[in-house]
Amino acid sequence: MSKILEIFNTMEYGPAPEAPDAVNAWLDEHGRKFGLFINNEWVTPKGAKFYPSYNPSNGELLAETTQAEKKDVDAALAAARIAFKSWSKTPGVTRARYLYAIARNLQKHHRLLAVLESMDNGKPIRESRDIDVPLLARHFYYYAGWAQLMETELRDYQPVGVVGQIIPWNFPLLMLAWKIAPAIAMGNTVVLKPASYTRLTALLFAEIVAEAGLPAGVVNVITGSSSAGSMIVEHPDVDKIAFTGSTDVGRILRKQTAGSGKKLSLELGGKSPFVVFDDADLDGAVEGVVDAIWFNQGQVCCAGSRLIVQENVAGKFIQKLKARMEHMRVGDPLDKSIDMGAIVDQSQWDTIDGWVKTGIAEGGECFQPNIALPEKGLFYKPTLITGLDPAAATVQEEIFGPVLVSLTFRTPSEAIELANNTRYGLAASVWSDNINLALDVASKIKAGSVWVNCTNQFDGASGFGGYRESGYGREGGREGLFEYLRPTWMDRPRPEFVLDEKKKWGEHVPTLPIQPTTARANGHSLPPIDRTPKMYIGGKQVRPDGAYTTTVLNAKGKIVGQVGDGNRKDIRDAVEAAHKARTSGWAMRHGYNRSQILYFIAENLDARNAEFVKRIVEMTGRTQKSAQAEVDASVERLFTYAAWADKYGGTVQETTLRGITVAVNEPVGVIGIACPDENPLLGFISLMAPAIARGNSVVMIPSQKYPLSAMDFYQVLDTSDVPGGVVNIVTGDRDHLTKTLVQHEDVDSVWYFGSAEGSYHVENESAANMKRTWTGYGLPRDWLDREQGEGHEFLHEATQVKNIWVPTGE
């Protein structure tokens, strides 16, 4: 029988390989050996060590790349520093031209980039060709636009400086675009380190950038091990670190940069839910699952790896899914008819296989389709594990491979609970043909991207990033710019402190009250009526748990009052009260209502204006005029955030999706706030007001030195319809209380305006649950100045962006 006739009968797919010729020619041109790309030149350090890059689909050696050492990292950062001087001064419209040229050049080399990406990483050519590379170019076009508009639209901002960027191996080119495009658009210069497994496309990219004529030193690419990454992170001349990768490494980076004044954005792991309701298009949702968990072999931080399906359709859905899995094709990444290519490395393959075995040991039922795998190469079958419960490690931990676990739910609220039953919060997918249900669930899942009736949608115009331990910062969209900008009034913080290794931070022995002996000794006049120092927790004045009291002295050392000396249990109670207020609806109230309450607070504060002025004078010894200015500014600040309460909800993003992509500025949750000593009232209000205006509830630690204004203020709160628990006030030793807050795993963010050393500890300790932090590094801030004391920086810290994608069409 002729071959044609045979195929005519079997109707099998045959091989459809993409030719690797051009890539091989490019590799050969470089002698299959690469140096570092510094100052638009290839630099091969003397005595350099090399590291092999393999094609994971067949084990063939592709090329060798340099292992950068300390001196090489220094050289790259020095080049970036020199380039920064001119690049940051280059007009935005000129920078836009360069980004535009890069985007054009990337399109010209589309196929070369795609084929190399697939050979280096193992991902199917269909994905690198149709998804990764088009998005790469799209990102540069998008941010070319922001460079063009920077001087008019972002006039209050300046570039951050030299940026160190460390990217993972799963989307080498796309992650590079997400990092480099916004950075250089805003006038920063970059040293990028690609992941060890996948270094080659970053090197090709560097060459393409040079070809586009980008000035030397603006983009530098160095290859090396994780220690080279650490060298970048710890280098004193780096102003910002941007990282995408595992949560474990993210924690290390948070600690390494703590207290340094370097900006940090982290895009970390996930275990994203894929929620299917019984009124979904089940066949459509099955395809969604394919795109969610078998995209890029499941090696995707936002992979929909937890299927949560309504119990009444679960059987049918799983049956459809299994049938669909039988049609998956796994094989040569360069084959155009392949759904899944190779796992990036043997160690990753072993990890995936280990998790599948764990899942089975945990009682899961493992399904893999009866499909062929190539004999050689790091291939893994698409895998579904059913019958597991949330208690299983396989359900909780990120696998980073083509493995889906499934759970069932009964009601929408249970679906939301299951979806949020994770330490992560990167993405979610919600499937229902009922718009009310779908959008309600989308608004309640804690994740940075929620895809309704779709999954794994990306675009330059939409921010991407996590809640919770999935990290912080956004990449893409307007929100992605702020990772690479600093307000013009602010210099790069260079906090100075000496770490006292012997003294444990935040240790505190309760202070004993000093008896105000003078007043009592005088038998002729009545002694003043003692006021019991109280905390303000859950809308009630409560005695300090430890029943200790601290005496407040004025600037001259005279006793002016007493406050409770709070301890960890006061913080615990305050955090619980804050959560209760949040879940009982503060965040869900509309902005109008929150603004009314803020106006009411301002009204009531103003009514007691003189009393607050007197208190400030009494405590701080400042002039009447200065105290009056502080109280007036405090009233005005409340007005400012009453104004912002209904004007910062988000935007409609102009993505390529047909439908609507909305960026919603959601509250962060419960924020712990340690207030500055300067401006005891205004500092407190400047931090409290933006937080509650945007729907957060707060635990406030007032100025340790001058806490009385804040304690007077709770009476204002009491009379202003502020629901109990929205604002909680705990007085005492700032660092002692802050330590409990920052270590509290159910506090979502900590703002700290104490010392430089305290800022270090806050950032360092925050790594435990990767909560967001905002620290003042002990540097002065003029709270009376509207530019420094209010506005976008505060609102940015009080919110987190969720992008909800809603495709339309009937």
């Binding site: 002729s2 071959k3 044609i4 006739l5 045979e6 195929i7 005519f8 079997t10 109707m11 099998e12 797919y13 045959g14 091989p15 459809a16 269909r126 149709d130 009124d279 979904a280 298009d281 089940l282 066949d283 459509g284 949702a285 395809e287 969604g288 795109d291 049609h327 155009k336 008819s337 759904d339 499937w431 043909d433 009736n453 779709c454 047909r658 439908g659 495709p807 339309t808 069409g809 009937e810």
Partner: protein, 319 residues
């Protein structure tokens, strides 16, 4: 057409099933956008697949100027869709490669039957007031009976779209049952005219009703609507076929028609069938293309496969 499959006897109309349908358009579009990029066949495989596509063509002429002569010429092409020299070079000497059927108006059935008498290629006739279906019911039924009488082995009936648009599923079901009865042993291919329907959900619902009423095939279009076969409606209809199979155990055929004129398009549809329904739906007892010019493009692609040269249309014998 010889079928290895048990003929669909139909099923009682299940309105709950029809009303409970969910089709999400954007999800459908994503699937159809990615599928042709996820699957492709090259070289020998492409040649074999195109050859298979030829055997699935309902070679069609449905024009006001059709004459016995025109039909005769079409039938000649149906019997010998590939040039003998190309057949030989493909290693297919002695193999019987013909199109799936010849599709004509009722008035031309006798001409086609006559022209095809030396072959076993079935004649398909459109009927029931094709293409609009806006003819009184007795006439529409009579049309089927006359076509069967004239020797048609397949009847491509059109549904009355008004029933779908107004949600009168019972009426649609009843009418199609009468059509099926009138068709007798001839297979009934039900044209949904999806271009006239409002939503993909209606396409899905109409597919279910058509199958429950006893259709052997469901077919997208008459070729006369402003939008004819698309991958989107095809995906929705194939999924309905799969649901019907799972529920009742009968395999229903699928026929996209109208606008499929290139080999590349044909292969996209083949991939769709293979992926959504399986290999059985690549053969002509369950899959047909309603097309007139597709065959020529396939011939040209096969010529290129054999010679490495791009072919001229006028080198391919006319149908």
């Amino acid at each position: 057409m010889t079928s290895n499959h048990t003929r669909n006897p139909g099923a009682p109309l299940d309105l709950d099933w029809v009303m409970g349908a969910h089709v999400n358009k954007s999800a459908v579009e994503r699937r159809t956008a990615s599928l042709p990029k996820r699957r492709t066949v090259k070289k020998d495989w492409q040649a074999a697949w195109l050859l298979r596509a030829i055997t699935c063509i309902d070679l069609t002429t449905l024009a006001g100027d059709d004459t016995p002569g025109r039909v005769h010429r079409l039938c000649a092409k149906a019997k010998q869709p590939l040039r003998p020299d190309m057949m030989e070079r493909l290693g297919l000497n002695g193999e019987r490669i013909t199109v799936g059927a010849v599709c004509v108006y009722p008035n031309r059935v006798a001409d086609a039957v006559h022209a095809l008498q030396s072959s076993d290629i079935p004649v398909a006739s459109v009927a029931t007031g094709f293409p609009a279906g806006q003819t009184p019911l007795p006439q529409r039924i009579q049309e089927i009976e006359q076509a069967v009488e004239a020797g048609a082995k397949e009847i491509d009936v059109v549904i009355a779209r008004n029933y779908v648009l107004t949600g009168d599923w019972q009426a649609m079901y009843d009418e199609l049952q009468q059509f099926r009865k009138a068709s007798g042993d001839a297979h009934m291919k039900t044209i949904l005219a999806t271009g006239d329907l409002g939503t993909l959900k209606q396409v899905y619902q109409a597919s279910l009703v058509a199958m429950m009423a006893g259709s052997d095939f469901i077919k997208t279009s008459t070729g006369k609507e402003s939008v004819n076969a698309t991958l989107e409606v095809s995906l929705v209809m194939t999924r309905a076929i799969r649901e019907y199979l799972e529920r009742y155990g009968y395999k229903i055929g699928f026929k996209p028609a109208g606008g499929i004129s290139s080999a590349k398009q044909a292969m996209a549809w083949q991939s769709l069938m293979k992926e959504e329904l399986g290999d059985e739906w690549l053969k002509n007892d369950l899959f047909r293309f309603g097309a007139s010019s597709l065959l020529t493009d396939i011939e040209r692609q096969l010529y290129h496969y054999l010679t490495g040269h791009y072919a001229a249309k006028h080198h391919m014998p006319m149908g």
